[in-house]
């Protein structure tokens, strides 16, 4: 039976973090399996972005562990951390493209920094990655000439440039129109299947969740309320979850207090 069970890629154990005395994460525990699209759902300020930044190694936790294939990444030295980071890709909410580099240089940046590959080969790889996100031929444009959706896709091409095993998405569809949202969602699913990625998506867009998620975790006030398939979340008995996914004003979630 054990062999049929899915392999855990990332395991978050009892993660706790406070900023200026305010507890943002309060004992979060999650298992994310290899190859799935795992969505972290939650309202503004519930700690979901903070959780993501812990997984990418940008923030150190106050307590708790994050295991990446069984290895605790919170206690690594800087050099070891850098090696682990090469197995990660991240797509940022604001795309975070370096604005003084064109599309090609942005996507090739990690390749130029981490590998000794020939410039010609790097060019081929960049072409491939841009093809995957549907932006072949846009190599020479500067980031400020691109629309929001295109920037997101370039960011995505950069995230997969080093052939990562895990890709993190921070609000991949925020600020995009519904059609572009659907395109980006489809891209996330496609990439995940084609490249056998483990994808972790932070969002508060319910439509996206139903389109892409294999499993969903609902975060509220720094704690995991519920984990399950989108179907299970939809039929949850928890009033907080119900209020959130239906977007109702009245209910246990109160932003005013």
């Amino acid at each position: 039976m054990v062999s049929q069970e899915k392999k855990v890629a990332i395991s978050v154990q009892n993660l706790t973090k406070s900023f200026d005395g305010r507890r943002v994460l309060d004992g979060v525990s999650l298992d994310i399996y290899q190859g799935e699209i795992f969505v972290i759902l939650g309202g503004s300020g519930c700690g979901k972005s903070t959780l993501l930044r812990h997984m990418t190694g940008a923030i150190r936790p106050d307590a708790g562990k994050i295991l990446f294939y069984g290895k605790d990444v919170t206690s690594l030295t800087e050099d070891e951390k850098e090696k682990v980071k090469r197995r990660f890709g991240m797509s940022f909410q604001s795309s975070a493209l370096l604005d003084y580099l064109n599309v090609e240089d942005n996507v090739s940046l990690p390749l130029r920094e981490h590998t000794q590959l020939d410039a010609k080969i790097i060019k081929v790889i960049v072409g491939m990655k841009l093809n995957l996100v549907g932006l072949h031929g846009f190599e020479n444009l500067m980031p400020n000439m691109l629309s929001g959706g295109m920037k997101k896709r370039v960011g995505l091409a950069r995230a997969i440039a080093m052939d990562p095993e895990v890709v993190f998405y921070d609000e991949p569809t925020s600020g995009l129109d519904p059609v572009v949202c659907a395109i980006v969602d489809k891209l996330i699913v496609d990439l995940s299947k084609k490249l056998l990625l483990t994808s972790i998506v932070v969002t508060h867009n319910m439509e996206s969740v139903y389109r892409i998620a294999d499993r969903v975790a609902m975060l509220h006030k720094g704690q995991v309320l519920e984990v399950g398939t989108p179907e299970q979340i939809k039929n949850s008995k928890n009033p907080i979850v119900q209020q959130f996914i239906k977007g109702e004003i009245e209910g246990p979630i109160n932003y005013v207090e």
């Binding site: 930044r53 190694g57 940008a58 090696k83 980071k85 090469r86 604001s94 975070a96 370096l98 920094e113």
Partner: protein, 266 residues
């Protein structure tokens, strides 16, 4: 929340200690990558340094020239006014050249560059910080200090002394114009006295100052940039603090170094 007097002192002290330690830590990191980068197969990209040198050095020549040139003119006129009373107008040349090379050349050039380049460094790194670009570099496993700060640091370390030399020459030229065309000192004699009284020490103490000033401008600029938070307003604030801090530190460092040279007879 009301804080008692001693709590306030303690709080201020704590903030300042953390600022100073963070700043020194950034300095150490930068020097680490300058020295050990090549042996760890992560040398600084020469194109990046070269780009920065063009931006910081070549494009600052005109403003540095004008500031020191006019200072040279003013200095010659002011000292002539005093020296005329003693019938020692001849010494305008040495007075101008020595005070330009030892003091005004390095300091004025550094102040101009702190305003032009220090501000630009902070604004650039600060807006990268608030747009998640610094975090993106870090997530890609690219050290932001090595990638962004070291090229700026090296470029300024090399270019500020070069600009100082240009400033020195411009200042002496300003003095020369006043001396020759207004005070009617013989041109050859003016240059001869300049050359006679100016020693090697005057030049290298000035240039050694400019090396220290370059470190101050680059590191304060980068530190304030990396510390930026809070959107466009934050970038503006950080830029102001960066320039003001650089100005103060440059003047203080100048005072200390002049003191060292004066008392140690270096």
């Amino acid at each position: 929340m009301m804080l008692s007097f001693f709590e306030k002192i303690g709080f201020t002290l704590k903030t300042w200690t953390s600022i100073v330690t963070d700043f020194l830590h950034l300095n150490l990191q930068t020097q680490y990558w300058v020295i050990f980068g090549p042996s760890r197969n992560k040398p600084v990209r020469s194109e990046a340094v070269f780009d920065q040198m063009v931006f910081m050095g070549a494009k600052s020549i005109i403003i540095v020239f004008f500031v020191t040139f006019f200072t040279g003119i003013v200095l010659a006129m002011q000292s002539a006014y005093q020296l005329q009373k003693m019938g020692a107008v001849m010494y305008v040349s040495s007075l101008v050249s020595i005070s330009i090379c030892r003091e005004l050349g390095p300091v004025l050039t550094a102040l101009v560059i702190a305003g032009r380049i220090g501000a630009a460094i902070t604004a650039e790194i600060g807006s990268m910080k608030v747009n998640e670009q610094i975090e993106a570099l870090d997530t890609m496993g690219i050290n932001p200090v090595r990638f962004l700060i070291v090229p700026k640091f090296l470029a300024l370390l090399f270019m500020l002394p070069c600009l100082t030399v240009i400033g020195d020459v411009a200042g002496i030229l300003g003095g020369y114009l006043v001396g020759v065309y207004n005070l009617k000192i013989n041109a050859a004699l003016y240059l001869q006295t300049t050359y006679k009284f100016l020693t090697h020490k005057d030049i290298y103490t000035g240039l050694s100052k400019s090396v220290v000033f370059a470190m101050i401008i680059a590191m304060v600029g980068c530190y304030q940039g990396l510390k930026t938070s809070g959107g466009a307003v934050g970038v503006g604030k950080a830029t102001t603090i960066s320039v003001v801090t650089s100005f103060i530190l440059i003047i203080v460092a100048d005072c200390i170094m002049t003191g060292i040279y004066y008392f140690s007879n270096l």
